[in-house]
C-alpha cells in the first residue's frame, strides 16, 4: 500500500538545542501510528511538522510528504473551542473552505464523529467532555481528510470518557483515515495503534508493530515506559487505624444544585483514602469542603474527633497547617511572577515554624530532584511535572496531618507520574487522593470511597472495593482502566 504520510530524516532545531533528530516513519490509509515518549521527547514538534507548523524560533528540516488533506485533533478540546461561538456557526465557516455543499459536508462529518445535529445550536460549555472531544474530531473531519493528527486525546479525561474517545478514533480509522497519535497513554496505544514509534529527546529509540514494541521492548527506555503505565493491582489489606479525618453527612451546594448528599467517609492516621468517581461526581467539592475552600455545606468535618471550622478564614494557624491541599493544575497554583523557591519556603515560614525556611525548603526540594538553579526560577521556567513536585513540597513543609491531592497526576506523562506516585507512597501523613484513575488509586489507597452524582456508592478497604466492586460505576471505572491491559482488540 502506498503511504499517505511519509516522514524522513525530520530534524527540528532551536538555538543550540535539537528537539527532533532524524525521525522517520510512514503510514498508510486506515493505519494508526503512535508517537510515544515522555514530555519533551519531541512528539508534539513532530506532530506539528506534519501540519507544516513549528513553534517560533524552531527551524525544521527533512522531508515530510502528506498525500491529501491533514486534520488536527487538539489536546484539551475545552480550550480549543471558542467559548463565544455556537458550534454550528464555526462548522459552517469550516465547511465554506471546502468544495461541495456546506450542509452535506457538515452532516457527513457529524455522522462520522457521531455528533448529534442538535448540538450545533449549543455553546461549547454546554457539552460534556466526551462531546467536546467528538466535536473537535468532527471539525477535523469536515472535507474528508486523509490523515488525522491527534494530540494527547485522552489526557485528563476520566476512564469512561477515555474509552469513548478510543472508540471514536477507532471508528474513524475504520473509515479509512490514517491516524497519527501523539500520546503517553500506552493503554490507548495498545487499543488503537498498528505501529509505535518511541521517542526520547527527539530521537527514535525503537519502532515497530505495537505488540512487538510494548510486549517485548528492546531498550531500557521503552521498558521503563511500559512499566510506568499504571496497572490496577488489588492491594493487600491493612489493619484499620483510628480515624484521623472523618466527614459526617456532608451536604454541599453550588447555588441551587446540591453536589454532595450526606457524604460520610473516614480515614485513619497514615492511611490513604482515595475518592474516586467520574468527572462531575462531586470529588473535588468534597476535597474543598475538607480543606475549608467550600464553606457552603452542612454536616461536619472532624480532624482527630474535633470539628474543623467550615471556612478557611475561621481556621487557626495550626488547623490550617494540619490540612494541606495540592491542586490539579500545578501551574495555576503558583504566582507567575515570584520564584518557586520563594513561594515554597513561604509555607515553612507561615505554617511550618522552621528556623531557616529557605534551607529547609531547598533541602526538601532537592530530595524530590529539584536543584537550587531550577527552583530559583519563576514558574514559567519549570515543567508541569517539576511544578507539581514543588507544589507537593510546599504542602508538606506545613507538616500536615492530612494532605489532599486533587488529580495531581492527571496532566503528567507516565514516567513523571510514576515518580510522583513513589513520593506519595512514601508519605507518613494521611492522604486524601482525588482521582478517576483507578490504577493510581490501586497503587496508593488503603481505603476507597466511590462517589456518583454526589453520593457515596461504595466505601471500604481498597482491596474489597477494587477486588469485588458492587456498584456499576465502580465496575465501569475499573473495567475501562483494565481494558488496555488485555490483548489488542481484533
Amino acid at each position: 500500500m502506498t503511504p499517505v504520510v511519509h516522514v524522513e530524516g525530520l530534524r527540528a532545531v532551536t538555538g543550540s538545542r535539537t528537539l527532533v533528530d532524524g525521525v522517520s516513519f510512514a503510514l498508510a490509509a486506515g493505519q494508526v501510528v503512535a508517537l510515544v515518549g515522555a514530555s519533551g521527547s519531541g512528539k508534539t514538534t513532530t506532530g506539528l511538522a506534519l501540519l507544516g507548523e513549528h513553534a517560533p524560533g524552531v527551524s525544521v528540516s527533512g522531508r515530510v510528504t502528506v498525500t491529501g488533506r491533514i486534520g488536527f485533533v487538539p489536546q484539551q478540546p475545552s480550550a480549543a473551542l471558542n467559548p463565544v461561538r455556537r458550534l454550528g456557526g464555526v462548522f459552517r465557516e469550516i465547511a465554506a473552505l471546502h468544495p461541495g455543499d456546506d450542509d452535506v459536508l457538515i452532516a457527513t462529518a457529524l455522522r462520522r464523529a457521531r455528533v448529534p445535529v442538535e448540538l450545533l445550536r449549543r455553546y461549547p460549555h454546554e457539552l460534556s467532555g466526551g462531546q467536546q472531544q467528538r466535536v473537535v474530531l468532527a471539525q477535523a473531519l469536515v472535507g474528508d481528510p486523509a490523515v488525522l493528527v491527534a494530540d494527547e486525546p485522552t489526557t485528563g479525561q476520566d476512564p469512561i470518557t477515555r474509552a469513548e474517545v478510543v472508540d471514536e478514533l477507532a471508528s474513524v480509522v475504520a473509515q479509512g483515515v490514517a491516524l497519527v497519535l501523539l500520546t503517553h497513554d500506552l493503554d490507548v496505544v495498545r487499543a488503537v495503534a498498528d505501529e509505535v514509534v518511541v521517542l526520547r529527546s527527539g530521537r527514535v529509540v525503537e519502532a515497530g508493530p505495537t505488540a512487538d514494541v510494548l510486549d517485548r521492548p528492546r531498550t531500557a527506555y521503552t521498558a521503563a515506559l511500559v512499566a510506568a503505565q499504571p496497572r490496577v493491582t488489588v492491594p493487600a489489606e491493612r489493619p484499620a487505624a483510628a480515624p484521623r479525618l472523618e466527614t459526617r453527612s456532608v451536604t454541599a451546594r453550588h447555588r441551587a444544585t446540591t453536589v454532595l448528599h450526606d457524604v460520610d467517609v473516614r480515614v485513619g492516621a497514615g492511611e490513604c483514602l482515595a475518592v474516586v468517581g467520574r468527572s462531575g461526581s462531586g470529588k473535588t467539592t468534597l476535597a474543598r469542603c475538607v480543606a475549608g475552600l467550600h464553606a457552603g455545606f452542612a454536616g461536619e468535618v472532624l480532624l482527630d474527633g474535633r470539628p474543623l471550622p467550615r471556612s478557611l478564614r475561621r481556621r487557626s494557624r495550626a488547623e490550617l497547617a494540619a490540612v494541606q491541599y495540592v491542586f490539579q493544575d500545578a501551574r495555576a497554583s503558583f504566582d507567575a511572577y515570584r520564584t518557586v523557591l520563594d513561594q515554597v519556603s513561604r509555607t515553612a515560614v507561615r505554617l511550618g515554624g522552621a528556623a531557616d525556611p529557605r534551607a529547609e525548603a531547598l533541602a526538601r526540594l532537592a530530595a524530590v530532584g529539584l536543584d537550587e538553579a531550577t527552583v530559583t526560577r519563576r514558574p514559567a521556567g519549570l515543567s508541569g511535572g517539576e511544578l507539581q513536585r514543588a507544589a507537593l513540597v510546599r504542602a508538606l513543609l506545613a507538616r500536615p496531618d492530612v494532605l489532599v491531592c486533587d488529580e495531581i497526576t492527571s496532566g503528567l506523562d507516565t514516567l513523571t507520574q510514576a515518580s510522583l506516585l513513589d513520593q506519595l507512597a512514601a508519605l507518613t501523613c494521611t492522604v486524601v487522593l482525588i482521582s478517576h484513575d483507578l490504577a493510581v488509586v490501586a497503587r496508593l489507597a488503603d481505603r476507597v470511597a466511590v462517589l456518583h452524582r454526589g453520593r457515596v456508592v461504595e466505601h471500604g478497604p481498597a482491596g474489597e472495593v477494587l477486588g469485588s466492586p458492587t456498584h456499576p460505576v465502580t465496575v465501569g471505572l475499573l473495567g475501562r482502566s483494565m481494558e488496555g491491559t488485555e490483548e489488542r482488540k481484533a
Binding site: F72, P74, A80, E93
Partner: protein, 314 residues
C-alpha cells in the same frame, strides 16, 4: 438560567434599587443645611418671612408625610412640581434630557467604533510603532481631566483660532452642529483611552488563545479569525466599561455642561440642589437610577452573549 428570566429578575431588583436611591437622595437633601424657603428668601432674610414661605410650600409638614405623598404620586407617573417655580418636574426633565441625550448618543456613536478600531489595531501590531504611538497617546490623554482639556480646547480652537464656537450659549444643538464639536471631543477623550486599552488587552489574549490557534489550523481565514473569533472574546470586558461610560454620559456630565454652557440634566441638577428644590432633585434621581439599572442590564445581557460560560456559572 435563561437570559429572559435573568432579565426579568434583574428588572424586579432594579425597581427596588430605584426606590432605595430615591429614599437616600431624599434623606441627603433633608440633611443639607437650609431649605427651599431659605434659598428663596434671598440674602439677609427675615425669619418670619421664611416661616411664611415654608407654610405656603408645605415644608412645615413632617418629612415622612411629604416623602410618602411624593412616592404615591410617582406610582401614578406624577413627578410633582418644582418648589421654586411651580412648574411640573416633568418639564424640567424634558428640557434637560434633550441636550444630554444628543451629547450622549453622539459621543457613544463616535466612541464605540473608534475605541474598538484603535484597540484592535494596537493589538495586531503589538510592540510595533503603531502600538507604541496609540499606547502613548491614549495613556497621556487619559491623564488629562475633562475640565482642563475643555478649557485648553476652548482657548485654542474657540478663542485663538476662532474655528469653532467656544460655548453653546443659546444655540440649538442640532441646528448648529459646530457647537457640539468641542464638547464631544472632551466627552470622548478619556473613555476612548480606557476602552481601547481594554480591547487591546483582550484582543492580545484572545489571539494567543488555544481556540484561535485551533481555528487557524482548521484553515479559517485571517480576517475571520480576527473579527469573528478573537474580537467577540476581547469585547466582554470592554462592554462593562462602555456601560459605565454610558451611565456617566446620561447622568449629564456636569463639568462639561458647565464649561460649554449646555443646558442638560447636569446643569438642572446643580441648580436644583443649590435651590434645595427637592422634587426636581428627586425626579432627576429617579431618571439617573432607572438609566443606570437599564444600561447595566443591557450590558450584562451583552456580556451573556459575549462570555456565555462565565455568566452561566455566575
Amino acid at each position: 438560567m435563561s437570559p429572559r428570566r435573568y432579565a426579568a429578575r434583574r428588572l424586579a431588583l432594579g425597581l427596588v434599587q430605584v426606590l432605595a436611591v430615591v429614599t437616600v437622595v431624599f434623606l441627603l437633601v433633608q440633611a443639607l443645611p437650609g431649605d427651599a424657603a431659605v434659598a428663596l428668601a434671598g440674602d439677609n432674610p427675615d425669619p418670619r418671612r421664611i416661616e411664611q414661605i415654608r407654610v405656603t410650600m408645605g415644608l412645615d409638614r413632617p418629612p415622612l408625610e411629604r416623602f410618602g405623598e411624593w412616592v404615591l404620586g410617582l406610582a401614578r407617573g406624577d413627578f410633582g412640581v418644582s418648589l421654586i417655580s411651580g412648574r411640573p418636574v416633568v418639564e424640567f426633565l424634558h428640557d434637560g434630557l434633550g441636550p444630554t441625550l444628543v451629547l450622549a448618543a453622539l459621543a457613544l456613536v463616535l466612541l464605540v467604533p473608534l475605541s474598538v478600531v484603535l484597540g484592535v489595531l494596537a493589538a495586531l501590531r503589538e510592540g510595533g510603532p503603531v502600538d507604541r504611538v496609540v499606547t502613548t497617546v491614549t495613556v497621556g490623554l487619559h491623564s488629562i481631566p475633562e475640565f482642563a482639556l475643555a478649557v485648553v480646547l476652548i482657548a485654542v480652537f474657540g478663542v485663538q483660532l476662532r474655528w469653532l464656537p467656544p460655548t453653546a450659549v443659546g444655540a440649538d444643538l442640532l441646528g448648529q452642529p459646530a457647537v457640539l464639536v468641542l464638547p464631544l471631543v472632551v466627552l470622548v477623550a478619556r473613555p476612548l483611552c480606557s476602552i481601547s486599552r481594554l480591547v487591546r488587552a483582550g484582543m492580545i489574549d484572545a489571539l494567543a488563545s488555544d481556540h484561535v490557534r485551533h481555528a487557524r489550523r482548521l484553515g479559517i481565514g485571517v480576517t475571520r479569525i480576527r473579527f469573528a473569533h478573537a474580537l467577540p472574546n476581547a469585547l466582554a470586558p470592554a462592554v462593562q466599561q462602555v456601560a459605565r461610560t454610558t451611565d456617566w454620559l446620561l447622568g449629564g456630565v456636569i463639568v462639561v455642561e458647565a464649561v460649554f454652557v449646555v443646558p442638560g440634566l447636569g446643569t438642572i441638577l446643580v441648580d436644583a440642589v443649590a435651590g434645595r428644590d427637592l422634587p426636581v432633585v428627586q425626579g432627576l434621581a429617579v431618571v439617573f437610577a432607572v438609566t443606570t439599572v437599564v444600561v447595566n442590564l443591557v450590558a450584562d445581557l451583552l456580556a451573556f452573549r459575549l462570555a456565555p460560560r462565565s455568566v452561566a456559572i455566575a
